[in-house]
């Protein structure tokens, strides 16, 4: 293992901002894995820490195939993590909206540029990321529909679902999008949570990366047979939206199978406790996403259902 500074920036009153990477194996730049880019992505840094631990062990056991270099960067934004702020500490910009970056630009553009120079030549890029809406997910791998990434390759993660999402204008400055512009096959890996730890889904994420590396012949690792992800386009999911704002009382969890007509959540009057609205499953499906904040707004997709795996 080679631990090294990928990028650094001097602070005025804070310690130097450092982006640290862990390299395993030697040879062609095969896979780069990036963890948290926002200050609240604690689950994402945790997944990477578990991955670094596992990769250390596998390297010591000589199980990384010759000729492959694998880089893990647990966080590209430790400054924001240390002050528990989602975006950049001073100007609130999002590093994951600054790629490919600009070395003469503003601070987060420089960070994005410094990081991207190091990671843009890898064959595969994997990013642990989070959704802008608070909620719990079924772990899955996500890729963009117009990109260089291949859904069949995404199946090698062995997660139940591969989600293909439509590219929107604001996606064009994300790491995932820009990786693909520079011919890296990029995948976003979503585990269950963001700002709190979920050990089980973090374990699933580590295993998913092991499956992928093994499938690519970069790792000697025994993977279970019969892994076959279902490929779903995001517009094929069923959104269950609130009509009312209020207290959100979920009755299901992400990953749970539900029957048609099953109650999914109640929206309660915050003063009197009355049920303002009950949300029901229109079909027998699997709960893919559940909002996890105690309050909700009207017109919000608080539950997303997906075809059974």
């Amino acid at each position: 293992m080679n631990k090294r500074i990928i990028y650094e920036l001097k602070g005025i009153y804070r310690d130097t901002f450092r982006v640290t990477g862990y390299e395993f194996g030697t040879g062609e730049k095969s896979v780069c894995i990036v963890g948290s880019s926002r200050g609240n992505e604690v689950q994402q840094i945790y997944c990477c820490s578990q991955l670094v631990k596992k990769m250390k062990q596998l390297e010591e056991e000589g199980r990384i195939t010759q000729g492959h270099k694998i880089l893990v960067i647990p966080s590209i934004n430790p400054y924001s993590m240390n002050i528990q702020k989602r975006f950049w500490s001073t100007d609130n910009t999002d590093i994951n909206r600054m790629f490919p970056g600009y070395n003469l630009g503003e601070t987060t553009q420089r960070i994005a540029d410094g990081v991207f120079r190091e990671i843009s030549e890898y064959r595969f890029g994997i990013q642990f990321t989070s959704f802008y809406m608070p909620g719990d997910f079924v772990p899955h791998v996500r890729l963009m529909d117009e990109g260089f990434s291949d859904p069949e390759t995404a199946r090698q993660f062995g997660l139940p679902y591969v989600i293909i999402r439509r590219v929107r204008p604001y996606d064009t400055t994300t790491l995932n999008y820009n990786w693909q512009v520079w011919d890296t096959q990029a995948f976003s890996l979503y585990t269950s949570t963001t700002s709190r730890l979920d050990r089980t889904s973090a374990g699933q994420a580590v295993l998913a990366v092991m499956n992928f590396l093994s499938g690519q012949g970069m790792l000697k690792y025994s993977i279970p047979d019969g892994l076959h992800s279902r490929i779903v386009h995001d517009e094929d999911m069923v959104m269950i939206k609130t009509a009312k704002s209020g207290i959100f009382e979920p009755m299901v969890k992400a990953g749970e199978e539900v029957r048609a007509g099953q109650p999914l959540a109640n929206i309660l009057d915050p003063y009197e406790g009355d049920i303002l609205e009950t949300l029901y499953a229109p079909f027998g499906m699997v709960v893919f996403f559940v909002h996890n904040e105690p309050l909700t707004y009207a017109n919000t997709a608080v539950v997303k259902l997906i075809e059974k795996y």
Binding site: L9, K10, D91, R110, M133, I247, Y297, A298
Partner: protein
Amino acid sequence: MIKTIAAVGLPVDEVLEIRRNRILPEQPAENRKRISIVTGIHGDELEGQYVCFELQRRIEQGKECLAGIVDIYPAMNPLGIDSITRGIPAFDLDMNRMFPGDIDGSMIEYVVARIMEDVAGSDCVLDIHASNIYLTEIPQIRINELHQDTLVPMAEAANVDLIWVHGASTVLESTFAYSLNRIGTPVLVVEMGVGMRITRRYGDQLVDGIFHLMKKMGIWTGEVKPARKPVISRNPEDVCYLNAGMGGVFIPDVLHGAKLRKGEIIGRIVDPLCGKVLDEVRTPEDGMLFTIRDYPVVVEGSLMGRLLKKEVCGYE
């Protein structure tokens, strides 16, 4: 005539409302021209608040001269304005990356779609911004190069100091201005002053410009002041960016708008802990400092100013 154009119930005993004030001429007539003044998409940018007030105050003083419709939208992001938040509180989303919205979408997408519906069809829209809390800007209009043929002639009537025609960028396709310009409703994006403050001088200048523009459009028949001739920049090479080479506290040595010679000191980056000057920020070319840093703390890369080259400004 105040109308709520979008309303959504919030979780605890409050309704989020976006409101518009429509000012109509005394004599009703069909096919009146319509100008819309929009501000507050970023909740920490308040320069447009004064413009909305002052414009209405002056219209009221000469109401008989009003020959068209003036729509005032002072608070597109009321929760942001109330909580001194640039984006939409609770979501941490930039409202100006949500357009054109979706009437069947989430709460914010719905609100944005309602705003689009209401503003669409205006003969001219001014979307007034105030830079951000870090930088002060001279009154200027920014125009996407895709729409310059329609917008530059309108902007020239608006009494601003600079018209900055910038390159097209995919990420800007989700802005209010792009989304409306794309469907044929002309939007001029005004940037002036600084976040969280009102610069009355700039507000008065823009209100003069709005009256001049309204006169040109046939919305106002009264006397107006002549509009100043703006500098028009179409070439990215016209502008020099001054980014901090290191972190520290920026102490400016010149005033905003100063016309400077190459090599002059704009300011210093200092280290208050050691009492040392870390860097002297000098002008790379002759030019006018049209942007200057207002918030003193800088880190490497922070923008401290923008300089418009002398040959573009055309001053002696």
